[in-house]
Subunit: 306 residues, 2 copies
């Protein structure tokens, strides 16, 4: 057993895209002496064992956390409360309990009541993902160059916050500390509402009577296909996100709709200058995202060049 590892035992609960990516990333760094994978589904545990991405894999959540120094819950947002309730009584003092959920205010509300004294609840959210799910879809480089937002609650132990930050940095992420409510607003605009409108446009397209589904598919290279990628994301995960970040999503959605109605009037009245101004303004943001390495500059995501 190494004396350098940041944690003795790290337990991951829920081994889907995110959980299995953490497990894979942990193989390449000296962060934990022992990695335990836990999932309620025997099928997932069998697959994790086959993949060999954890030192131990089990469906027994209580047993999985008993020796853990860090527990990271990687289940859908709506299941966090249940997981906390199941593992709460079995956590050892000093243990850090964290998560990867896409909402944060509701995670605190769901999990905090089940945390025994002496355990540090420090929610976090790695802003990284793909449209795929399940243990086969994960990969070690997922968190590389991405941001992980850590949202301590009043009274969180600073040493524990620093340790969790060091963990994510070792996986290749940059970290930022934020209040849970602010996280929820930032993610509403950078992730949740974009997903909602992607799901919505795909729904609208498939319901239009005058245009066949076959036409929508054939001519999707005009822009539509980018939205379908996002709209292929896991339904359970995203249902939970919208139900658990309701206020911020509704607030941002209100602004989006207001702005869209203004654009609609510009089109109706032929106000080309206003359209041109907006379309020019939005380019600058794209440039900054590429400069800050949060996306590739390859045209068309590099899809076009063969």
């Amino acid at each position: 057993m190494s004396t350098e590892a940041l944690f003795g035992q790290v337990t991951l609960i829920g081994i889907g895209l995110i959980g299995s990516s953490i497990a894979r990333a942990l193989k390449g760094v000296k962060l934990a002496d022992r990695v335990v994978a836990a999932d309620l589904s025997p099928g997932v545990i069998a697959r994790v064992t086959e993949l060999g991405i954890a030192d131990e894999a089990t469906t027994d959540l209580a047993a999985a956390v008993r020796q853990a120094d860090l527990v990271i819950c990687c289940v859908p947002v709506g299941a966090m409360g249940l997981v906390a309730e199941v593992i709460g009584p079995h956590l050892k003092p000093g243990c850090i309990v964290s998560d990867v959920g896409s909402t944060k205010g509701s995670i605190v509300a769901q999990m905090a009541p089940h945390m025994p004294a002496g355990v540090h609840l420090i929610p976090a959210h790695p802003v990284a993902g793909t449209e795929h799910s399940g243990p086969d879809s994960g990969f070690a480089a997922l968190f590389q160059d991405r941001w992980c937002i850590i949202t301590p609650v009043p009274g969180s132990d600073q040493a524990a916050v620093d340790k969790l930050a060091a963990f994510w940095q070792a996986l290749g992420s940059k970290t930022e500390v934020m209040a849970p409510d602010h996280h929820d607003l930032v993610l509403a605009i950078t992730s949740h509402v974009p997903h909602l409108i992607a799901y919505n446009i795909v729904g609208t397209a498939s319901d239009l009577e005058q245009v066949t589904e076959s036409e929508v598919i054939k001519f999707s290279a005009g822009g539509f296909r980018d939205f379908t990628r996002i709209a292929a994301s896991d339904p359970t995960m995203w249902r939970d996100v919208f139900l658990h970040n309701k206020e911020a999503v509704l607030e941002v959605l209100g602004r989006f709709t207001e702005d869209l109605i203004a654009l609609q009037r510009n089109i109706r009245w032929g106000q080309g200058d206003q359209l041109f101004d907006l379309f020019t303004r939005t380019r600058a943001i794209r440039r900054s995202i590429i400069d800050q390495r949060q996306d590739t500059a390859d045209p068309d995501f590099g899809r076009g060049r063969k």
Copy 2:
């Protein structure tokens, strides 16, 4: 001079992303004995000459079309009428005049009045592109496996339509014939409204007071960045698209907004089942797009794996 080429002289007018991609693609196939590139901008013509992607490059549109058997106008939709007016008197009988504009009804309205008797106006739209523009951004493979929609008008010569279809097929495209109005509706849902809502969400994000631009950029990997790619597309081109496909865009936008308001109510009232149903339904469309090779199945467009 080969006897096999489909056309003697092909003239491209407007050498940006699309025009220069056609020029480059023509290098690899025996479709024209001679390719002439024309653009009003001397800077573009100088660059085309440097790139060596045409047999001749000129700012004189009239001279460029005089010997042409096929003229393809690759300028923004709003400039098509002007180009037609300039070249009309110089076209030779039997010449096919086509275009690549993203709208079709308005192209017919703008160009048809300037076409002399004996010239075949056959509008077309290759459904392929990237967010970049200008002669340096083009590449030969752009049209490979993509669809090109040909929209003949009443009275169009069938032999000319077939010849234009053969031209696009030789560049790697699949072709479909459609009425201009139907094209405009299909593209409103598969391209124009997606672009509009992408521009709009990026605008909303940059106007939110509670979230800084720096936060939007940092955390864009949650989904937002995909929209910024589309919202970085050329402002002139897209202003023209919305002004010239007003009716269809407003119709589809009305449906989009109606559907979005229903989703908003589902979120407000916690109707998770409705959300889950929509999010499940949209996955099937993604699968068909990938099956029909209109997009890559790589997770996250292959961005995540290094």
